[in-house]
């Protein structure tokens, strides 16, 4: 069995047998990795708490035939807020869930890893209303679904001749009056969305909560779910709370 080192974020875990866990990691160099962490549910485990979801780790792993094995794990950055604030925890889980869906096993994705780390760091230190949404829009762009925002994604008509009034990620982005389907979108939300995907995410993240940030956040969830063709459970579950 060969050893390798990598950085990774724990996306989720499953109980295995009496005291083991399977951890699903998003790594910097090896893409999505499913690995066994032995004995971690026992109180005296050396690996123990480090292998909880949303932990950012320096890992030493054995390559296995089906599942790799976690040999060592050290915490890179402790993100306390993700465990001490329910909204931060829920946001972190919501991002990890989407990342798990997009990431592929055996396919390295440095950009995806860096995006997730950046977003979790933002959630832990400066949780604004657009952290999760910003991550979702960037994830859509990375996964080949960057939305068309300056003209109608369907017919190509653009302002000033045609107003963009709706949004549907399945159609490719913003839509004019004639092609409208999906969700209605306000001019302010469209403007904010251009900011988020157009290289000014940092500025967008500083914005206080408003109707417009709510609209862009709701649209992000709908678009992410439509793109993945499945519901995002983390968000829905805690919305019910």
């Amino acid at each position: 069995m060969s050893l390798y080192r990598d950085l990774g974020v724990v996306l989720r875990t499953y109980k295995l047998g009496e005291a083991d866990r399977i951890v699903v990691l998003l790594t910097a160099g090896h893409g999505k990795v499913r690995a066994v962490a032995k004995g971690v549910r026992r109180a005296k485990s050396r690996l123990g708490g480090r292998l909880e979801p949303l932990s950012h780790l320096q890992l030493l792993m054995y390559e296995g035939r089906e599942l790799d094995i976690v040999s060592q794990a050290e915490v890179v950055e402790p993100w306390r807020a993700l465990h001490e604030d329910l909204a931060c925890l829920a946001g972190g889980m919501a991002m990890a869930e989407a990342a798990e869906q997009v990431a592929q096993e055996g396919e390295a994705s440095g950009p995806l890893y860096r995006m997730l780390v950046g977003a979790l760091r933002a959630m832990a230190h400066r949780p604004g209303p657009l952290v999760v949404a910003g991550f979702y829009w960037k994830l859509l762009c990375l996964d080949g679904a960057a939305p068309v925002l300056h003209q109608c994604a369907s017919c190509g008509a653009g302002p000033p001749a045609a107003r963009l009034v709706a949004f549907d990620i399945a159609e490719g982005g913003a839509l004019c009056q004639g092609c409208r389907r999906g969700q209605p979108i306000s001019p302010a939300a469209l403007e904010l969305l251009r900011m988020v995907v157009g290289g000014q995410l940092g500025r967008a993240l500083e914005l206080p909560a408003s109707h417009t940030t709510n609209e862009v956040a709701a649209l992000a969830t709908i678009s992410m779910e439509r793109h993945l063709e499945r519901r995002l459970r983390s968000l829905r579950t805690l919305e019910r709370a």
Binding site: S45, R50, D85, L89, S234, A241
Partner: protein, 201 residues
């Protein structure tokens, strides 16, 4: 290929938590090789437990008797009704009882909030918990959920609900190994964690 009845036994055992196909096979053959009397006793125990045991109508721990009955802890008049310890599962009640540090009563949520598995507060015994605070004169609620992300989420959620009620809310101390299951913590560590609980803001 095994005879149908052997395969059926292996399949049933394999559906139990923590038992993979290999273990199921091993247990099945262990049972087949053991005396008929042993196998009959095991079968009888399972049937008896399933018919006699129910959930305590007050705290949702296991209780013996008809539906609507209360467990031994809830019916014990020596227990302090002003302190309520909230745990995820009945096995956590056992773990805390072993420490001998706690003389109050329990509330078993029968699970934990797990966003990614779609398990929300509505699937836990949360409403029943809130109803007990006033009815039983509870002064302190000790959140004793597992020290992992689901346990954290559950404790944070309950704390946000309970802060509107006239009750002190504490969380078991962080001396517990994070990521470990409460049931694996040794009695001394768990006892200390209970003793060192801190009030939540």
């Amino acid at each position: 290929m095994y005879a149908a009845s052997v395969q059926e036994l292996i399949d049933e055992l394999g559906r139990l938590p923590g038992i993979g196909p290999k273990s199921a096979q091993r247990i099945a053959f262990y049972i087949l090789k053991s005396p008929a009397e042993d196998a009959r006793r095991l079968a009888a125990c399972i049937t008896a437990a399933k018919t006699k045991v129910t959930w305590c109508a007050r705290c949702f721990n296991v209780a013996e008797g008809e539906a609507g009955v209360e467990c031994e802890i809830c019916t014990d008049p020596r227990r302090d009704s002003s302190a309520l310890c909230v745990v995820e599962e009945p096995r956590d009640v056992v773990a805390i009882e072993k420490t001998g540090e706690f003389r109050g009563r329990y509330h078993v949520l029968q699970g934990a909030i797990s966003p990614i598995d779609g398990i929300g507060p509505d699937q836990l015994r949360v409403r029943e918990l809130l109803a007990r605070i006033d009815a039983e004169g509870v002064k302190e609620v000790i959140l004793c959920t597992n020290p992992n992300i689901e346990g954290d989420a559950t404790a944070l959620y309950l704390a946000s609900l309970l802060k509107h009620l006239p009750v002190k809310v504490t969380r078991i101390a962080s001396g517990l190994p994070v990521g470990g299951d409460l049931e694996y913590a040794d009695e001394l560590t768990l006892g200390r964690a209970l003793e060192g609980r801190r009030e939540l803001a």
